[in-house]
């Protein structure tokens, strides 16, 4: 291959008609997708919903798809030169338009802005990113004539990248923890950033909890949100009906959720894989439907409101003035600020998530943790070794559910209001997606996946309807590049020789 690079590649004569046809088909597919998603927008107007059409946007999207496809065909046919010329020009034009206000001042800038294809800056930056990628690829193809990677080469490269990420992961853990601890004191950490941080940490905690069930014990649970709901409702009802404080109710909510986990675990003991997934999905929905319909107990669709906020470990309250008690800002002699509560919530969920993490790391190295993993690998072999599969599975279900219950109580106390709407199947799916994308059983992978799947969509709320599109795109990309999850790597729970001694058979 490397001997005669130039001749090794067959540069066929360009078939212009075929090229246009292929690009037209792409544009047609884009049209079919975009006409519904982009072409019509529903607007809330007084007295109902109005529909606004955006056919111009559809046309622009189609044109971009057409041009982009032609660029890809040219790259594929080893003719990068036109792309190398056009893509940077497009990039430059877009950049000028985007930065026009800063370059030319607001007046002429605003005039130039009218030439921009879309209104949303995030989408525009996305277009810029695509043109830049095309330009870089074209430049690469121009300089490396022979570079058409075979499938194996590409796989090997992805493996190397994966191994590098794994090495970095050992350092990444403490680094991320440090970043989380100092986050509330950063100058940019306003209420919004902290709220997103709390949300991400909640999903990290849920992900770590589900990781015990799915990642370690290998029980595919699609109804995990049910235990989250049980925890939330346990706390909410205890707090509103019996005036129990957060710190007293927290263990109780965990216990309730854990019990629910064991109870739901019993009937599904014999099921594996897909069947287990379907039944747990059903159980998840059942819990939600019960919450929705048992009006006298749960308040049905009205939910439970007026859930008390957590106090500072029962010592002080987070409010401006406390009639009978101490206020947090008075206790520490600070100026009152509403963000104190958010910071406290942030550290609270951080601590709770870390407890789950430490617990999981420890229990992996205990007999029960190893039995979970063994059960995931081969249940029949487990039975032949005298491991009780029933108890082993139920502990995994119960412990996983207990952590979901803790997270649920936190959710209830943070929101102050809960209703069955918060516990739909999509929540289970998102938590499972975090575990799967992070890499089964990988603790740091769950963190990264939670940041990607929860944090980024929150930051890109400006994208509005494109947000879920980006979510889907992220999932597809991860599945393409790292089908076993971002950090699918299993560290042995104990070694006979140290980590450095490499046995002769490489794994």
């Amino acid at each position: 291959m490397a001997v005669s690079a130039a001749e090794g590649i067959d540069i066929r004569p360009l078939n212009l008609a075929a090229m246009v046809r292929e690009a037209s088909i792409t544009a047609l597919v884009v049209f079919a997708l975009a006409i519904g998603l982009v072409g019509f927008e529903t607007l809330d107007v007084p007295g109902g919903v109005a529909i606004r059409t955006r056919f111009a946007d559809v046309a622009v999207v189609m044109a971009l798809a057409f041009v982009g496809r032609i660029a890809l065909i040219l790259l594929r046919e080893h003719r990068p030169r036109p792309v190398l010329i056009v893509a940077p020009i497009l990039t430059a034009i877009m950049l000028v338009l985007l930065l026009s206000e800063t370059i030319f001042g607001s007046e002429s800038g605003a005039a130039l802005k009218r030439f921009m294809p879309f209104h949303d800056p995030v989408v525009l930056w996305g277009v810029v990113a695509v043109t830049v990628i095309l330009a870089v690829r074209a430049a690469y193809a121009q300089t490396h004539v022979s570079s058409s990677l075979t499938l194996e080469e590409r796989d090997a490269r992805m493996d190397r990248i994966g191994a590098g990420v794994q090495r970095a992961a050992r350092l990444l853990g403490p680094l991320l923890l440090g970043a989380a601890i100092v986050l509330p004191f950063m100058p940019f950490a306003d209420r919004r950033v902290l709220d997103i941080g709390v949300l991400v940490l909640m999903y990290v905690m849920l992900g770590w909890g589900l990781n015990i069930v799915v990642g370690l014990a290998g029980l595919l649970d699609l109804g995990y949100v049910a235990f989250y709901a049980v925890g939330a409702y346990s706390f909410a009802l205890l707090a509103t009906q019996f005036d129990v404080s957060f710190w007293v109710a927290l263990p109780f909510a965990g216990l309730m959720a854990g019990t629910a986990g064991v109870l739901l675990g019993f009937p599904v003991l014999r099921l594996r894989g897909d069947y287990l997934a379907i039944v747990t999905l059903g159980f998840g929905e059942m819990i939600r439907v019960i919450l929705l319909n048992w009006y006298s107990f749960t308040g049905g669709p009205d939910g439970v409101s007026g859930i008390p906020r957590p106090s500072f470990f029962g010592l002080a309250e987070f409010s401006r003035s406390v009639p009978d008690g101490t206020a947090f800002h008075e206790m520490f002699g600070l100026e009152y600020a509403s963000i104190h509560r958010i910071i406290f919530l942030f550290y609270l969920i951080l601590a709770m998530a870390l407890v789950v993490n430490v617990f999981t790391m420890r229990i992996r190295k205990l007999p029960i943790g190893r039995a979970w993993e063994a059960l995931r690998e081969d249940e029949t072999a487990c039975r032949s070794l005298g491991i009780n599969p029933r108890n082993t599975k139920l502990t995994a279900f119960g412990i996983g559910a207990m952590f979901a219950g803790f997270a649920g109580s936190f959710f209830a106390t943070r929101q102050g209001f809960i209703s069955p709407e918060s516990f739909t199947f999509i929540e289970s799916a998102v938590i499972l997606a975090i575990v799967v994308l992070g890499g089964f059983g990988s603790q740091i992978g769950v963190v990264i996946a939670a940041v990607v799947l929860i944090g980024l969509p929150e930051f890109f709320r400006d994208l509005q309807q494109y947000r879920m599109l980006a979510f889907g795109m992220a999932m597809v990309l991860i599945m393409l590049w790292r089908p076993a999850g971002l950090l699918a790597h299993r560290e042995p729970t104990l070694r006979l020789f140290g980590r450095d001694k490499k046995p002769e058979t490489n794994s």
């Binding site: 205990l366 070794l385 070694r495």
Partner: protein
């Protein structure tokens, strides 16, 4: 041996010598209309290797599944004369056979925990012991000394079996990445880590080359002589069976057709008939039997 003899079971003499460890009486296993095992009775001795042979489909693996709690026999009594008392194996369900009666087994198609390391496989085998030591997780969670000592002891036992199966070098390799022969030996090591009184091996020599088979013979002899436990062995490889077993039971179509010392079984006309077909081969010298395992796999015994 007639059915009447086996009623007086523990007193009866085991063909290969040794103390009776296992008494199987009138074992029958039906799957719907199919009779996989038909009224089989035999004795297994402590500190001896008892081989169960027979053509494919003779019911050997079904017999193992009944003994190790994977199947519940339709009829019959399986008594294990454990040093701590007698266990009726047909009443123990599933994992309890291994947990209470200390019966360990390996599988015809290897069943390791492929993504766990070799050492972890051996530690998982000591689950029940470690579970008690970890105070059912509570003591272990806080890293108490009781548990750490128990774990160190478990690693020592694992190390002992790693040394004797020549797997020490590969202790930290994922079990799924081992070569086939090593996986076979690891499965035996894992079964031995449960500290059994009866070890059931389902075709341990399948797929091994002659040198590996030879090593396996040495390993099984070592287990028999040093650990004095009973070994039940299903095997097609006659070089293994004839060399190491003290007692052979031959099954055909779910029935026991022969039972005795290797010498007696080798010369039993019923066995030769089952393995080599009807009359025309009856005059063949017994040496043929040693290489008869291939004939045993011929399609007509399906």
């Amino acid at each position: 041996m007639s059915a009447a003899d086996s009623f007086a079971a523990p007193v009866a003499e085991v063909p290969g010598g040794g103390q009776t460890l296992l008494t199987v009486e009138h074992l029958t296993m039906r799957f719907g209309g199919l009779v996989a095992i038909d009224d089989v009775s035999f004795l297994g001795a402590d500190g001896r290797i008892t081989a169960i042979i027979g053509p494919n489909g003779a019911g050997k693996t079904t017999l193992f599944n009944c003994l190790t709690g994977f199947y519940k026999p339709t009829v019959g009594r399986l008594t294990l004369h454990h040093p701590e008392g007698e266990f009726l194996l047909e009443r123990l369900e599933g994992y309890r056979t291994a947990q209470k009666a200390s019966v360990a087994r390996t599988f015809q198609n290897i069943r390791l925990f492929p993504r766990m390391t070799v050492l972890e496989n051996l530690i998982v085998a000591q689950h029940n012991k470690l579970m008690r030591a970890s105070g059912f997780t509570a003591a272990g969670l806080f890293g108490l000394k009781v548990y750490r000592d128990a774990e160190a002891k478990a690693v020592d036992l694992a190390r002992y079996w790693l040394d004797h199966t020549k797997l020490t070098e590969k202790a930290d390799v994922e079990a799924g990445n081992l070569p086939y022969g090593d996986q076979r030996r690891l499965e035996i090591a894992r079964a031995m880590c449960t500290e059994p009184v009866l070890l059931c091996l389902d075709e341990p020599a399948a797929g091994l080359n002659p040198r590996e088979s030879h090593d396996l013979n040495d390993l099984l002899r070592y287990i028999r002589n040093e650990h004095k436990i009973g070994i039940l062995l299903i095997e097609h490889d006659m070089s293994v069976v004839m060399e190491i077993s003290d007692h052979i039971i031959v099954l055909d179509y779910g029935r026991k057709i022969s039972d005795g010392t290797p010498k007696a079984v080798r010369n039993d006309p019923a066995v030769i008939r089952a393995y080599l077909g009807q009359e025309e081969h009856e005059e063949l010298p017994p040496e043929i039997m040693a290489g008869a395992d291939n004939a045993g796999r011929s399609p007509d015994d399906a």
